[in-house]
Symmetry: C2
Subunit: 181 residues, 2 copies
DNA sequence: GTCTATATACTGATAGAC
DNA sequence: GTCTATCAGTATATAGAC
């Protein structure tokens, strides 16, 4: 069964936005790779921004679900560990890893984009769920860095010293250690 | 004593590149803030890229010096701690903190820029200096995250829960913990 | 759904006067 | 050292034919 054009636009856009940056990627490039003209894109998406919104949508839903789950649980060490595990699992899911990377790499270009603002808010809320109200600065930074570590490792994969699988396992281990007091 | 125009261009460019992104900031904007025309900028800098090169230059020199120092030391826990301390101190220096943020936020836009490639290489070399040759994946990721943690904290400052000073001290503490086995 | 053609605006960059 | 004027190129976006 052939993919429809809308999906192919999303795939190509995500790849180019991630590789080259959002601003550096023109609709002409996307259209050329797809084998159509720019105008055809405007049939499927109202604006360039609209492509971003559609890309980020699924990930936003996932983060919201994760936050809702965390809030439904007691604030225990076990909950925190599971929260980080679920976060890492979400990042690893094939559909979302690309979107996460795209967002990581285009923070500035998209700084006023509503979906990025929303993502950032959700991330801060997740960090809050990793902390008790009276947490010390070291605890807060440490637990924030735990979530961050899940992403940080990916930056090392390109360098070739470690495989993707090794990095993922090691990142999770490091994140777990950052949750401990 | 009045600042010269070249310096003011650098200051304005750094701020706008950081706030809005490199691609999203036009030379027209920079010129307008400075109160001159675009053409005047071209007297001081040959190209837009050239402004970036001038901004990153000092930081590159500092990273190179830090790497040279690390290589002149024995690979001991004490050296590793001091390396991270010196790295954090460099980041904190008023002239460099801005450049570091600018580079963090514009990774994609500058992905082919020689100064960013060089910065990334130096960072990887610093991570290597934090590791023995036979280091496990967890050690490698952990010690890389230590350097990363110095930056990671800054991301939390905007949120207002912690002061800049608290975050800096806490980040260093977290980084130190990530060096331990 | 996709096309051609076009509108409108902005970009980085240069030439040459003052 | 800064200006005016301008270049060539590209961008997002739209109108209307097929």
């Amino acid at each position: 069964m052939r993919e429809d054009t809308r999906t192919r636009i999303q795939e190509i856009a995500l790849r180019l936005f991630t590789e080259q940056g959002y601003e550096a990627t023109s609709l002409r490039e996307i259209a050329e790779e797809l084998g159509v003209t720019k105008a055809a894109l405007y049939y499927h998406f109202k604006t360039k921004d609209d492509i971003v919104t559609s890309l980020v949508g699924n990930r936003l839903v996932e983060l919201e679900e994760l936050l809702a789950w965390a809030r439904s649980q007691p604030k225990t060490p076990q909950t925190r560990r599971e929260l980080v595990e679920r976060y890492a699992a979400g990042i690893r899911r094939t559909q979302h890893i690309g979107v996460a990377r795209f967002l990581e790499r285009n923070q500035t270009a998209l700084r006023d984009h509503p979906t990025l603002t929303k993502t950032r808010e959700l991330m801060m809320e997740l960090v809050n769920e990793l902390n008790e109200p009276g947490a010390t600065p070291v605890e807060r930074v440490s637990r924030a860095t735990a979530l961050f570590a899940i992403h940080a490792g990916k930056w090392m994969i390109d360098e070739g010293k470690l495989s993707e699988d090794e990095v993922e396992k090691a990142s999770l281990e490091v994140a777990m250690r950052l949750l401990e007091p």
